[in-house]
Amino acid sequence: MKRFIFYLLLIGSTFAEPGDSVVRINSTLQNYNAAQPWEKNPPRTRKGLGVLLPEHQILTTAAMAADAIYIELKSADNTLNLPAKVVAIDYEANLALLAPDGDAGFLSDLEPAKLSEPVKPGSELSFYQLENNAESLETRGVIRSMELLSTFVPTGYFLGYVVKASMQTSDNSFTLPAFHKGQLAGILTSYNSKDQLCDVISIDIVKAFLKDNEDGSYQGFPRLGVGTTTTEDPHFRSWLKLPEDGGGLYISRVLPSGSAAKAGIEKGDVLLTVSGFQIDRRGYYTHPDYGTLFWPHLIKGASVLGQKIPIEILHQGTPKTLEVELVESPEPLLQDHGYDQAPPFLIKGGLVFQELSRGYLEAFGKDWTKRAPLNLLDVLSNPEDYEKQGRRRLVILTRVIATEATIGYDRLSSQIITSVNGQSIAGLPELAEVFKSTPSNGIHTIETDRIPYKIFLDEVLADKVDADFIQRGLPSLSRLYEVSQ
């Protein structure tokens, strides 16, 4: 009976029917095994919804497409399907643009959604879900607040809406489109049933993502490349010689070769304004429409790569205004994520070498910040200490497979490689290059940061063991990549 009333309400709605632009997305995801990088973990599936945009493109979250080996689009009534490919993806912003892999099929019969004008706190959003029998369910909610939300990659914070709504379990609900007055206004990424709150990616970020891809090559969101600390503590403020009232963020870290570094911003400077907005002591500013927002939105949401923005800082007590050009960030020593990338590895005689990544550390489980080896966690918290040593990536001996060549080494793991045969190692391809020439005594010397500090490997024996590996079903002894100069 209740349901009946609900549908009556739906029919009575005066807005355009957005259900016509919604498609089902079924993704099969498969990532690599962190401990045995030559093989993949078992596949998983994710079911969500996407929204049709002009030119048969479909917008959904990056979570639906990251590590996907097969993406299938299905019509709302589950009768027609179509394979899809990824056109553009941003893991930090959690957005992906898909297109049919081949013929547009049933998409030609659907009506592309229009993009809504920016919405504000207090605006009403409606979320679309599909039932198994193709009936659509609409749930309405009001935007409680606008905040910078991290919805997929833990380090990616972007403008989003927190919406109070009471959602239900339904088919394909991993990702849901949100509409405002019949036009696409965001993408729902998660729902907390206890507090009945939804996290929604904002239309502002969706539009910036689509605009970036208009020329067919997706570049990504800009970053300032700084680490900051609040200046709430009055004693800290007076030590910095900041006035008692007023704001400012202390710059505690500057990413080498990032936008801030190139503009001359230094560690110890205090960030006062960005694009004319005052930054308070906790890092917030007042957006004319959206209310209080965290400052990175001024860079990531309100600016684009290549743009020059005015930034005011306090440098050694003197105010300074800089024109900061937002440039592409340099590749970090440790990548934030490893989605859609086959992890490089090298096996030599049973020694397994990999490049250290955040993903490798996270593979130590839920408590990885406690369980992962201390020497590797140190790299994550203090990457500068390791970048200084001329490395592009950090090569580690991740494990030792018991072979004739590795007798006595079986229990070694998580050793950072400092040099091989006297040569420093900038990355895995460089390590492979060093292994190509054998020292005159036929033994490779691998120096590491932990006991026993030196590991020796017999070239002839290692070759023999490696040949055995291939015979025993290891698909390959290495997966390397080209090093761009």
Binding site: H235, W239, L374, N441, Y453
Partner: protein, 490 residues
């Protein structure tokens, strides 16, 4: 009730030999061996490392001890650790005699206790220490465990002789005898006898196994008794090296060893340890005191292969150890004089010590050791790494104490300082902090700087305290939190 008692006795009867039954007979006039086994009641005061200014917890417990010489009662260190009062009761008597701890060795869990007035105990036999029992031979454990008031005897066989951990200090391993008689609370410190001689001291059980008890064998007891002959206990000695087995053919060939050659690789030498400057990374140790060392670092004693450290285990401070070794293809001899290495005690639980700390304007600083680790859950990666590498990487040279900000008491001065809790102090106003006393002095200067600027390892910003506010905050917070003493530096 009486029937029940008899039944119980009947059940236990087959385990007790005839000779012992005679000794159990109360009409025997001459004191039996069992009479030399006494009950020890201890009242303890254990410091609380979370509130180091407080008196700590007052508790108590009982254990067993036995007479080995004139006014010399041997027991476990853990029975009398942190003792404030020790009382001894003779078998079959209810009179409690005041005693005190004369020597205590936490690393081998042994202690020697003496009575205030030895008179009433003068007639008792002194129990004689024997040697190592053989596997499968029968032994009896005597003591005052839980489950009754009177003396208890359990029998078992020697099931294993091993090098294993001593849980009292949480850091030490020595020779251990495992028997299949259960060792229960209260048994601790009691003698385990065979043919009328003591072959060990009952000391710990195993929660993961049934009917397993562990005893400290006489070589360990004799070493303790010898160590204290000069009036003080000096601890076990350690070489301060990390050996790495030389099994790998490529590694052997790289260090120029023939196929049949023996010897173990030195992978690390602890800076300022006994071997520093005498042994080097990459040395191959061939023999220790003329005992050939194999590729795994073991030597042969009699028919058993044991770790080469067994040689060091039996030695004392000032004793020498001679190594035959290979360095850069040349054979040489090095003589190492053993010495105490107090820095390694950071990894042991400490007893009898007052926790050190300094309290400054709402901040509590304490030096890191295992006691502190057991009381707080530290997660900071820099702190954990400093602790792990403290000895092996010689970090004690930079940080004699690893000084940690353990508490931030809530106050208007400290409102924004909680983020620094659990971090290691690196500098105060540019001065590198090596130990707690130095930190205390830096924070209590006669002419203070305008701001105290405390920098922590791995933290992006310093903690700032305006010196003008220190005195009032110190008084205000001390009074509210109940800190009666601002520091304990020794």
């Amino acid at each position: 009730m009486r029937i029940l008692t008899r039944l119980l006795f009947a059940v236990f009867l087959p385990h007790v030999s005839l000779a012992q039954l005679q000794e159990l007979n109360p009409v025997t006039q001459k004191p039996s061996l069992y009479d030399s086994v006494v009950k020890i009641e201890v009242a303890t005061q254990s410091p609380d490392y979370r509130t180091p200014w407080n008196s700590g917890r007052f508790q108590g417990g009982t254990g067993t001890g036995f007479l080995i010489g004139p006014n010399q009662i041997l027991t476990n260190a853990h029975v009398v650790s942190n003792a404030r009062r020790v009382l001894i009761t003779q078998r079959g008597s209810s009179q409690k005699h005041v005693a005190r701890v004369k020597h205590i060795a936490h690393d081998c869990d042994l202690a020697l206790v003496e009575l205030q007035y030895f008179g009433p105990f003068e007639d008792l036999q002194h129990m004689e220490l024997g040697g190592m029992p053989s596997l499968e031979s029968r032994v009896s454990a005597i003591g005052y465990p839980v489950g009754g008031e009177r003396l208890s005897v359990t029998q078992g066989v020697v099931s294993r002789i091993d090098f294993s951990s001593y849980s009292h200090s949480r850091a030490d391993s020595h020779l251990v005898i495992q028997i299949d008689a259960a060792i229960n609370p209260g048994n601790s410190g009691g003698p385990v006898i065979q043919d009328g001689k003591v072959i060990g001291v009952a000391f710990q059980g195993n929660n993961q196994a049934d009917n397993v008890g562990y005893i400290i064998p006489t070589p360990v007891v004799n070493r303790f008794l010898k160590d204290i002959e000069d009036g003080s206990y000096d601890h076990y000695m350690d070489l301060g090296i990390t050996p790495f087995p030389l099994f790998n053919p490529a590694m052997r060939s790289a260090v120029k060893m023939t196929e049949s050659a023996k010897g173990v690789l030195v992978a690390n030498v602890v800076p300022e340890g006994p071997a520093d400057g005498l042994l080097e990374r990459g040395d191959i140790l061939l023999s220790i005191d003329d005992n050939p060392i194999d590729s795994a670092g073991n030597i042969r004693i009699g028919t058993e292969f044991v770790d080469m450290n067994e040689i060091v285990e039996r030695k004392f401070a000032g004793d020498k150890v001679t190594f035959q070794l290979m360095r850069d293809g040349k054979e040489m001899t090095q003589e190492i004089t053993l010495k105490a290495f107090p820095y390694s005690r950071i990894y042991s639980i400490r007893y009898e010590e007052k926790p050190r700390y300094t309290f400054f304007a709402g901040l509590v600083f304490q030096p890191l050791d295992l006691n502190l680790f057991a009381s707080f859950s530290f997660e900071n990666q820099r702190l954990r790494q400093l602790f792990t590498d403290y000895v092996s990487e010689g970090l004690f040279r930079k940080h004699e104490d690893i000084v940690v900000l353990t508490r931030v008491e809530n106050d208007r001065l400290t409102t924004h300082m909680d983020k620094f809790r659990g971090l290691v102090v690196e500098q105060v106003n540019g001065e590198k902090i090596k130990n707690l006393r130095q930190l205390h002095e830096c924070l209590n200067q006669e002419n203070p700087p305008e701001f105290y600027e405390i920098r922590f390892s791995g933290a992006a910003v310093p903690l700032i305290i305006p010196s003008a506010e220190v005195a009032s905050a110190q008084a205000r917070i001390s009074a509210k939190v109940g800190i009666t003493k601002p520091s304990q530096l020794d």
